[in-house]
């Protein structure tokens, strides 16, 4: 590790190899990745399990309480390390000081320099069947998120708000307000619903990632 001292600020380079494998080139620096997601590496790598997401005692307790548990490992070394998760599609996200909100189950790897945390999402989280909390990633660097099928990235701007099916939502970044839309009416109860009874509406300025597949949600059948 001392050999890497020459690099004042070395940043791991994320790149996709195909669409389902993430290759990270490291020169003595580190990335945080989902436990067990390493499929291959060359060079010298050290894998260290980070209890409770590597956010210290407080983060660990928060994650326990909120159910946003991540088992994360820190990978440090020299060379290339490849990551993959159940052949799901991988999407790279570049963060320049903004905040990425993503479900912990969809977060594959982040630059070690990025801060991760937990945040309250309210009804939106509940509608996704993922609980009331979500994971945040903040700072400067790259992160990799997984999706079922390649994610479509949609820009939200003040004049173009966006509505998203909770089951297809995977992540968003930027300065967005989200509200929960419910179209549940008398008709829904009669079994004549519009089929898209719950939506998350995003307003503001930022990006939303959706996947071409829907998780099973309580909203799915309404």
């Amino acid at each position: 590790m001392g050999a890497a001292g020459g690099y004042l600020r070395s940043v791991a380079m994320f790149r996709l190899q195909g669409s389902k494998v993430l290759a990270v080139e490291m020169t003595g620096d580190a990335v945080k990745a989902k436990n067990g997601s390493m499929v291959a590496y060359d060079g010298q790598m050290a894998f260290k399990k980070l209890s409770g997401g590597g956010e210290g005692i407080r983060g660990m307790v928060t994650r326990r309480i909120t159910g946003e548990q991540m088992t994360v490992m820190e990978v440090r070394g020299q060379g290339t390390c490849w990551f993959a998760d159940r052949a799901s599609e991988i999407n790279l996200v570049g963060l320049q000081g903004d905040k990425l909100y993503v479900e912990s189950s969809n977060l594959l790897a982040t630059d070690a320099g990025l801060r991760t945390g937990t945040t309250f999402t309210g009804l939106r989280g509940a509608s996704q069947g993922n609980g009331l909390f979500t994971t945040t990633v903040e700072g400067h660097g790259q992160a990799a998120i997984t999706s079922d099928g390649p994610a479509v990235v949609l820009r939200v701007s003040p004049q173009f708000p966006l509505s998203v099916d909770p089951g297809a939502y995977i992540a968003h970044q930027g300065n967005l307000r989200q509200s929960f839309q419910s179209g549940v009416t008398f008709r829904t109860l009669m079994g004549e619903g519009g089929g898209e009874a719950f939506q998350i509406r995003f307003e503001g300025d930022g990006l939303v990632y959706v996947q071409p597949s829907e998780r099973n949600t309580i909203a799915g059948d309404v």
Partner: protein
């Protein structure tokens, strides 16, 4: 804007999204300009603009439903999207594609149909589990792997069949020789000696096009509604042991798709 630039994928906004075309192999974008589309429930993943989703039973839609929806008991699976904006359709990360029909007809496995324009009329096929679209317009269908188009005469694997256009209904074809005689009987009873799993096909003849998917993973069957209980209506009385075996349930080697029963073995 450069704020988000980097190694990330293409960013779409309402201007750059295609109109009635694919965004990628798995996501399709429909543009609504005050128009309507029929949509299977739960296939919309996101939309820009103002779009209403109403169940088929919605009173205002009566006229539309009367002209383009002829599967009354199937109605609870479908909604009408109405308004202006762009909406994204996708289904379980399967391949989606749009197809144009010009004064034609096409029969498709009910689970594969995602959406269609009301200029088409949707009818329940007399082949159980299939729906027929008649008229002129565009529809969106999903398949596991890209769709290939074939011309009859052709025999196809039941699980790979997505649909067919313009040609008469398929019939069953069995490799009879394989199943008869002493050895065939033994094979059928025990599964020893190898069942290739391809003893049964759908056979198409006549002029038309057959649509196949490049895998044998079936979409979940959508209920197509019950047919009237009448003599002569396929699937009306008996529990359906129809042409498509229970999706996804692997056959035991000795059963050969219940062929032995059909051959009296």
């Amino acid at each position: 804007m450069s704020q988000y630039a980097g190694a990330g994928p293409t960013v779409h906004d309402p201007m750059t999204l295609p109109s009635d075309d694919n965004i990628n192999n798995y996501t399709f974008c429909v543009e609504l300009k005050g128009s309507q589309w029929f949509l299977q429930k739960g296939k919309m993943i996101a939309y820009y603009g103002s779009i209403d989703f109403n169940g088929i039973g919605h009173g205002r839609l009566d006229r539309l439903v009367r002209t383009s929806f002829h599967s009354p008991l199937h109605a609870s699976d479908w909604v009408v999207a109405e308004g202006s904006g762009k909406m994204l359709l996708a289904d379980r990360a399967f391949d989606v594609n749009s197809y144009d029909l010009e004064d034609g007809n096409l029969t498709i496995r009910s689970g594969n149909l995602l959406a269609f324009q009301p200029t088409l009329a949707l009818k329940q096929s007399i082949v159980p589990g299939f729906l027929t679209l008649i008229g002129t317009g565009k529809f969106v269908a999903a398949s596991n792997g890209p769709v290939v188009f074939m011309e009859p005469p052709i025999r196809v694997d039941p699980q790979a069949l997505v649909g067919w256009a313009d040609c008469p209904s398929p019939c069953h074809h069995y490799d009879h020789g394989y199943m008869t005689g002493l050895m065939g009987g033994l094979r059928a009873m025990t599964g020893l000696g190898g069942a290739s799993g391809e003893e049964h096909q759908f056979e198409f003849v006549g002029a038309g096009t057959v649509l196949l998917q490049s895998s044998e993973t079936l979409m979940a069957e959508q209920a197509t509604g019950a047919v009237p209980h009448q003599a002569g209506v396929p699937g009306s009385g008996v529990p359906s042991t129809g042409p498509s075996p229970q999706s996804g349930v692997p056959r035991l080697p000795g059963q050969l798709g219940d062929l032995q029963r059909r051959f009296g073995l």
